[in-house]
């Protein structure tokens, strides 16, 4: 049967056709495609690994930032507490200082007032003395016009002075 006997001409053409296809595709066709696909695969694998690493690093960063935040908050609290204490202390100190100052001022004022008082009192006394002297002068001048009364006064005065 002719179906089972290979034809020489067709064998030849098949050899030519397949040989050409094989040569061209094995040189310029498939290696290019396979190489690119494998490169892309390698690239994808690398990208995946990179992404994983990045995610891990990001998680690390988040953790670290949380830690830093916590620390900062703690520090803040501490600072606030310190500030509070300081304020209280400053106020207390100020109060104490103010008390002392005030006491000093009051004392000074008191002494000043006393001095003033004394001065004023002295002035008043001086005034009164002068006034009483002038009054006495006037009275004396009037009473000494008659002698007996003069005598009597002198005696009286001498008695007084003697007592």
């Amino acid at each position: 049967m002719s179906l089972l006997t290979p034809d020489l001409g067709l064998l030849f053409w098949m050899l030519v056709a397949f040989g050409t296809v094989f040569f061209v595709l094995a040189k310029f066709g498939f290696p290019v495609i396979v190489k690119m696909v494998e490169e892309r695969k390698a690239f994808i694998d690398k990208s995946l690994a990179d992404a994983k690493e990045a995610t891990e690093r990001l998680a690390g960063i988040t953790q670290e930032s949380e830690k830093i935040l916590k620390q900062a908050r703690e520090q803040e609290l501490q600072i606030l507490k310190q500030a509070d204490e300081m304020r209280a202390k400053v106020i207390a100190d100020a109060k104490e200082q103010a008390g002392i100052e005030a006491g000093k001022l009051i004392a000074e004022a008191k002494t000043a007032i006393r001095k003033e008082q004394e001065l004023a009192l002295r002035d008043v006394k001086k005034e009164i003395a002068e006034l009483s002297i002038s009054i006495a002068e006037k009275i004396l001048r009037k009473n000494l016009s008659n002698l007996p009364s003069q005598q009597e006064l002198v005696n009286q005065l001498i008695n007084e002075a003697q007592n």
């Binding site: 056709a17 310029f28 290696p31 495609i33």
Partner: protein, 360 residues
């Protein structure tokens, strides 16, 4: 919607293919329909490419005939000179005898028919060249896409993506597991084989002009493919491979004095590519024959009356569609099997000495 469109297309194709045969049979109206001959004619080779016969006028593309007669030397002429096998030209004619039926023969002085050296571009050869150029264009255009682009920024979509999927499924699914560590050297060959067979199988399934030739169902074609595999298997075979053929690790009496095992191994060398050749040839030939046979039901049942004929026609179309769809599957499977077996044979020729395996 797409599904319906495809169905319509499929029906159209079936109708046209049926039409082709029907038209061809018209000129034999009065003769009894010889299905065997019709099928053999269709699956066989021809010197012109028959497209359609309209009202007893066969429309066909004449193909170049290239022959070297024993005495008259080289001749190149168009096959139209034979007038569809009815005329002689320069001493050559298309034989009607039992021995060289349908082939070009040269008549000797004593009247006996001789086969000249025949390198004619027959229907199969043309289809082969057409398919090969198309395949080259297709794969090179894909390769070109890759060449123009950067791996890190783009990946293919659509047709090139599908081609990539197919290529990589062969590389990862067949070549790598069957051959092992040296697979890269054989990848281009195996991919070429796969696409060559697959592509020509598919072209053979198209019943319209550029397709329809029974290329991969021709033993010369499958034979050359098998020879390529045979050569590659044996050229790159390792020392261990040849040792296992001529001095296998079996009891001595199997090798000496009568070398039973080496003989079996040497026979095995040739049965492997032979099996490859026959498997592909038989499968594709069978597919074409079944489709043609089922289509012929329409013309056989003409004599059974109109009702029977229409029923059988519908049946025939349904069955033909079914077989055509199966053939689509077969087109892929046979290409896949040929590639896989080639890969397995190459893998077997890459054997390493056994003690290395123990080390693992």
């Amino acid at each position: 919607m797409t599904y319906n469109l495809r169905l319509i297309l499929l029906f159209l194709i079936m109708f046209l293919s049926a039409n082709t045969i029907f038209a061809q049979e018209q000129h034999k109206q009065n003769e009894e329909l010889d299905v065997t001959e019709l099928i053999l004619e269709h699956v066989g080779d021809a010197y012109d490419w028959h497209i359609v016969t309209i009202k007893e006028h066969p429309m066909s593309i004449p193909l170049p005939v290239i022959v070297k007669g024993k005495t008259s030397g080289w001749h190149i002429f168009s096959s139209a000179r034979f007038e569809h096998g009815h005329a002689d030209y320069q001493g050559f004619s298309i034989s009607h005898s039992e021995k060289y039926k349908g082939k070009i023969v040269e008549r000797n002085a004593d009247g006996t028919e001789m086969r000249p050296l025949d390198f004619s571009l027959t229907k199969n050869a043309c289809s082969l060249l057409f398919g090969s150029s198309l395949l080259i264009i297709l794969i090179l255009s894909c390769a070109n896409w890759y060449k123009k682009r950067n791996v890190e920024t783009s990946s293919p979509k659509g047709f090139i993506g599908a081609m990539e999927m197919l290529i990589m499924s062969i590389v990862d699914g067949v070549v790598k597991p069957c051959i092992g560590k040296n697979y890269a050297r054989y990848t281009p060959y195996l991919l070429t084989v796969f696409f060559f067979i697959f592509f020509n199988n598919l072209l053979g399934l198209i019943p319209l002009f550029p397709g329809g030739a029974n290329v991969t169902g021709n033993i010369a074609v499958t034979g050359v493919l098998a020879i390529f595999t045979f050569v590659i298997v044996n050229i790159f075979g390792t020392k261990e491979y040849w040792k296992e053929i001529f001095n296998p690790n079996v009891p001595t009496w199997l090798k000496f004095p009568i070398p039973i095992m080496p003989a079996i191994e040497i026979v095995g060398l040739f049965t492997k590519p032979f099996a490859l050749m026959i498997r592909l040839f038989a499968n594709i030939l069978a597919g074409h024959s079944i489709v043609l046979g089922l289509t012929c039901i329409i013309f056989i049942s003409v004599s059974m009356g109109a009702a029977m004929n229409s029923f059988m026609s519908v049946l025939s179309v349904i069955m033909t569609i079914f077989i055509d769809v199966v053939e689509l599957l077969v087109a892929f499977i046979q290409a896949y099997v040929f590639t896989m077996l080639s890969a397995v044979f190459i893998g077997l020729s890459q054997v390493e000495p056994h003690h290395e395996k123990v080390k693992k």
